[in-house]
Symmetry: C2
Subunit: 520 residues, 2 copies
């Protein structure tokens, strides 16, 4: 048995049985080892960002890490943007990155680079394997790191000789390097006391993040809100939100600074529940950096390292709110009166909320078009929403691949801006190859519209030729139906809300990958 | 005037007048400054690897650096693979990478990362601007670094406040941070003495790299070879080779280790001329790491930091070879008898050599299909060949964009493997947007054929299901004509050599972007 085989055995023993791969020559022994491990599902991406984005989407839905297989420093470079997004979602991931053999690194062959240095900025844990004998132990440690609470990006650099030299499986067991910490009882008591004053409670916002956005946890937060009068909000972008009718629906802080500040204007006490103190997504010359008011006190009920459900439950218990009906329960009617005509963002969300099938997975990288979605999606059938947490666009197409691999029996809808979708457009081919039940919806506003808005906000003159050349996706327009066909995915172009609704209805009924281009 | 405007003025004053861009919010003030500088040509890439690959292709043909504009750490991450290739071509490049405002970095907003750390592995020079006042000075320094001999990757990190706060142009001049060093006269004399012995000279190989592959320099090397009986070879992949009929054509070392070792088997003296001692592209269990024999002596006539033409001229003079007719002058006939039938690699090169128009720029990322090209391209009309120096596939599509921007009056032919072309497929759109005279030829062997070969060389059993899933681009096949159409580029599919020849003839006559998919 060689080092690669020992590693693949360790991965499978550690319940890592999906590998999103884009290998090269230095990984051929690892490929060969995977070839002899039919228990491992190997999913090819034609670009490394597809592999890392898919591993992120997979973790969020499967709740366990996948492996990626990447080719040296440049291959890892191509994967970095989506590793960044995954890190910001606290997704666990085991990246296996090839490196030259130990006795060849100093020869500085053309593909040589400092792989660890490339890995470090976007990883929580980085290690280079020193020998084939150490390879399975290092793999076990990488899995243990990835399986922490919250998840971690573990990047293991594998010199080629450690892949081909003799080893043995070692049978190293894995266990999360960090497990969820128990609730902070003193804080729970203090917060219960704080919230027992109605007026204080009404000036308090629970800011939910991470696992606090799952249905069970959000229900507990809803009980606290109903019992005390405090408000609920979530971080602007969340790794996974269980949402829809019959659930406690939490309003995210808006992306624009002014809207976010307005939402927390009257909040004197901000209670963090798996979240961080909210900050502006970007800095602007004359806008605040922090979203909360300067005199707002910040309390921490639970960080992402804590058992968030137990922490919320402890607060519910301390308040005596066990039998309170939760606030913000979505009881609105099913939307049946669908808007028609021009596909304006305000109405697109309504069509989606009306037609999203129950238990769907919604991948949200709709950027400007998607800003209105949160207003109506609570009225949709119960579904999961996974969102781009790290802000590096080019995530949704790939995350949809991973979500669909994780949940083969659920329908995945990826709502993507046209600008965003282009970065990892190669993900379409992986959907076709794996026959994934993914509907990709492209909102074709034919510009980096968010940037158009930012430029306008600067208050300068109208965009001139150079700005238009950098912000508009025109001359020529992208033809998404042809792009999809080229990747083996059937597509349709629509330009009205009724056409969009028809296409969504067909997508809800039929299985397999498809693409809908909604021209705006 | 703000920092961005001062920077753009500095770029233009430093003769950097092309910017390959994929900006984001943090770069909006820079975009606005570019918008007010009509002298700057802004070329949008829909993925950052297009921008960095284009800047590399541009440098190789324009012989001066372009700027790139990239969005924070993840945007730079997406550009890294082609920055790696550019670094390995010794291309100069000025990367402007946005960063959060100084007073916002510590807030760790979603897109925050250590941008300098992302930049360092693939850059020769990295700096973060400390203030708007320093921005133009730092820009001048970046240009000076990029314009060194050889070129350098200069990455300047621009915090948003340094882009928007007041500055003044400063009028900082730029000059190469390192200029070409004079010939090493003692070495020249020693080498002339060495080569004066016929038997020693016949066991000597001049290994040419970098500028030594330009026509003037290669002619000097050809004189030395003719006068002394020494051999000529080049590195396997070169930044830019002037090649074709009437020129001294130098045979590159083959990519496979065994072939390269065989080529230098009898070489007892290896003379480096802008090259490095050749090493295996990858390490293999039972193959050598170094290409030369252990007892072969290595001499250095010139490194890439030297004036290579002057160094070769000095050796010619020392040998008294000024009037010698150069060796390896390509005097073969124009190919008129074109092969037909199945598109096997041996014959594809012949068709290309016959039909490549004079003064064309050939972008070579044909990988396995291209291995036979060097045998026949000396018979082609005089042309430039730019090659993938860093081995990170996904370069050719983007390099072709940059080469065409640099040389609007020359025809560009990009010969790409289908696997390679997918990594920066978005480059097609930039060709359409800029109406570049680029013919993209996709060799559709529908696999990572190089990896198929590597796996077979390992001597294991036939590839099983998992290996096939990671190495074959099938189920479904990519439809390149549709992919091209989707990006606004007309395409045609051919599957015979005569069909390929017809398509090349049309491409040679008509201007504008097009794609030819040759199904193999």
């Amino acid at each position: 048995m060689n080092g690669s085989e020992a590693m693949v055995q360790t991965l499978l023993a550690g319940d890592v049985d999906v590998c999103f791969a884009n290998p090269g020559t230095s990984e051929m022994h690892f490929v060969s080892a995977l070839d002899r491990a039919p228990g491992m599902r190997c999913v090819l991406g034609l670009f490394e960002g597809v592999a890392s984005g898919a591993a992120d989407g997979y973790y969020r839905m499967a709740e366990k890490p996948a492996a990626t297989l990447l080719h040296l420093g440049p291959g890892l470079g191509n994967a970095l943007a989506n590793i960044h997004n995954a890190k910001r979602a606290y997704s666990g991931m085991v990246n296996i990155v090839g490196q030259h053999a130990w006795d060849h690194i100093h020869n500085n062959a053309p593909l040589n680079s400092d792989v660890e240095a490339v890995a470090r900025p976007m990883s929580n844990w980085v290690k280079t394997t020193m020998s084939a004998a150490a390879a399975p132990l290092d793999t076990a440690e990488a899995i243990s790191q990835a399986r922490s609470t919250p998840g971690r990006i573990a990047t293991l650099v594998l010199p080629a000789n450690c892949a081909w030299e003799p080893s043995d499986p070692g049978h190293y067991s894995t266990a999360p390097a960090q497990t969820a910490a128990a609730p902070l009882n003193d804080t729970v008591i203090a917060l219960a006391r704080l919230l027992s004053d109605r007026k204080t409670a009404e000036a308090t916002t629970l800011l939910l993040g991470g696992r606090a956005l799952r249905a069970r946890e959000a229900t507990l937060a809803g009980k606290i809100a109903a019992h005390t009068g405090c408000k609920l909000a979530s971080e602007p972008r969340n790794p996974r939100m269980e949402r829809g009718r019959g659930r406690v629906n939490v309003t995210p802080l808006p992306f624009p600074v002014d809207g976010a500040v307005a939402m927390l204007k009257d909040t004197k006490h901000l209670v963090l529940v798996g979240s961080a103190p909210p900050v502006a997504f970007f800095a602007y010359p004359n806008k605040p950096r922090m979203i909360k008011q300067p005199d707002c006190e910040v309390h921490t009920l639970a960080t992402l390292t804590h058992d968030i459900e137990a922490s919320l439950q402890a607060l519910v218990d301390a308040l005596g709110a066990q039998n309170t009906a939760p606030a913000q329960l979505s009881t609105g009617p099913i939307i049946t009166d669908l808007p028609t005509g021009a596909p304006v963002p305000e109405h697109i969300g309504t069509v989606i909320a009306a037609l999203l099938p129950e238990n769907a997975i919604m991948v949200d990288e709709a950027v400007t078009t998607g800003r209105q979605f949160a207003k109506v999606t609570p009225q949709a059938a119960p579904h999961d929403c996974i969102d781009i947490t790290g802000g590096a666009i080019g995530w949704g197409m790939s995350a949809a691949v991973g979500a669909a691999v994780a949940c083969p029996d659920r329908k995945v809808f990826a709502f993507l801006g046209d600008g965003s979708a282009m970065y990892t457009v190669q993900g379409l081919w992986s959907m076709a190859r794996e026959n994934l039940d993914v509907t990709v919806v492209i909102f074709a506003n034919r510009s980096y519209k968010i940037l158009r808005g930012e430029l306008a906000n600067m208050g300068g003159p109208e965009a001139g030729e150079n700005a238009r050349r950098m912000l508009d996706l025109d001359r020529p327009y992208l033809d998404w139906v042809s792009i999809a066909r080229g990747h083996g995915v059937p597509g349709v172009q629509v330009n009205t809300l009724e056409g969009f609704a028809d296409a969504l209805r067909i997508a809800a009924k039929e299985k397999g990958p498809r693409l809908i281009e909604l021209v705006m």
